[in-house]
Symmetry: C2
Subunit: 221 residues, 2 copies
């Protein structure tokens, strides 16, 4: 009984995700689902990307949070169209929440929509939002054991950003151990190591992001 | 329909939690549910507490993880009875999982059972395990906005441990801002700031833990 209901919920989510995807494709917008633990630096990554990307493409952001508009306030200060989703305590975004957010956003003319999910290394990976691709942010102080301990998340993304590289001298964190775990757990995932705070390594991830957007738009052409 | 099922699931969980509690009380064992984001330092906190506590009380640990036995391996090295719960991808422990773990553990003779939950700042707060009290671990590099952004978790615990105080010089983190948010969001929660890595501040939290265990055992007497 419980399993049947769970399946129904997921099916409904997938149907709405498919509708979101059609809206993105009709407007020629690439959409990314940005995932990671609380405090991994998802909003900081957006703040670091915008100066690199804003000259080349038109961006908008959907911010998912349990409470407060703090992340959305930070992003709005960058001058980007921003919609806040308050999940009222829910531990992940779902496709229906994103569909509602899209009603408040003009997709035409955009190139990339960044959807920042709720801080959570487990639940959000199970909910498709209609995005074209996913990046998970893992920060150095979280520890180098997280890929092995939370494998599902890493298996369901296209790329991994290892953030807060500037803290490497101050904590025990073996980059090679993480890369070795990724090779075993999620061998097709593209890995990047950077510091959103200092800007180190941002260019490589930005280049990957631009290339993915290009591929998505070509696929629609 | 969905809401009805969710309520039934929670009721079943609460019933099993009540049974777990009776088993703890019958054996005169205090039980703590240790919560926090992935990488907040829950296992490191246990490693820091054991040298302080092991001389005064008999401890055992239940470790909850999605995958691997890495945390349980670390705790077992401390010489404590340890049971690993593999949640098979579930984002929180529930009372039934803990009940199964208790079957592999001798409660008689123990003073304190530490149950380390899955790394997640949202879902585990909704599931009672039968514990007498709860501590949430928040680490400095996660950022000083987490109490406001994830209020439910902080409202459902007895104490807050702000961990990784040794990283304060390297990140933006305003301790007073966190304490001010706690006063608003969860005014009855006891706050501690410490570094499990250096041992700074461990004594204050240990004293609180001992006092809570004492109170619980007196309440049963």
């Amino acid at each position: 009984m419980q399993v049947v209901v769970a399946k129904r919920l997921l099916q409904a989510n997938d149907q709405i995700a498919e509708m979101n995807r059609k809206r993105f494709d009709a407007a020629w917008v690439a959409a990314i689902n940005l995932l990671g633990s609380p405090g991994a630096g998802k909003t900081s990554l957006i703040e670091a990307l915008v100066p690199e990307l804003a000259a080349k493409m038109r961006l908008a952001v959907v911010e998912g949070d349990l409470a407060t508009t703090r992340d959305a306030d930070r992003v709005a200060q960058l001058g980007l169209p921003t919609v806040q989703i308050n999940t009222s305590g829910a531990c992940h975004l779902d496709a229906g929440m994103v569909a509602s957010a899209l009603d408040s956003l003009t997709l035409d003319g955009l190139d990339l929509l960044i959807i920042e999910n709720v801080g959570n290394l487990v639940c959000p990976s199970s909910y498709r939002l209609g995005e074209h691709f996913r990046t998970v942010v893992l920060s150095v102080p979280e520890g180098d054991d997280k890929v092995a301990k939370y494998p599902t998340m890493f298996q369901r993304v296209d790329s991994l950003v290892i953030n807060k590289l500037d803290l490497l001298p101050h904590v025990r964190f073996d980059l090679e151990r993480v890369r070795a775990d990724v090779k075993v757990v999620a061998p097709t995932v593209a890995s990047f190591a950077l510091s959103a705070a200092t800007g180190e390594g941002i260019a490589e991830y930005t280049a990957w992001l631009e290339q993915r957007c290009e591929q998505i738009r070509e696929g629609k052409g």
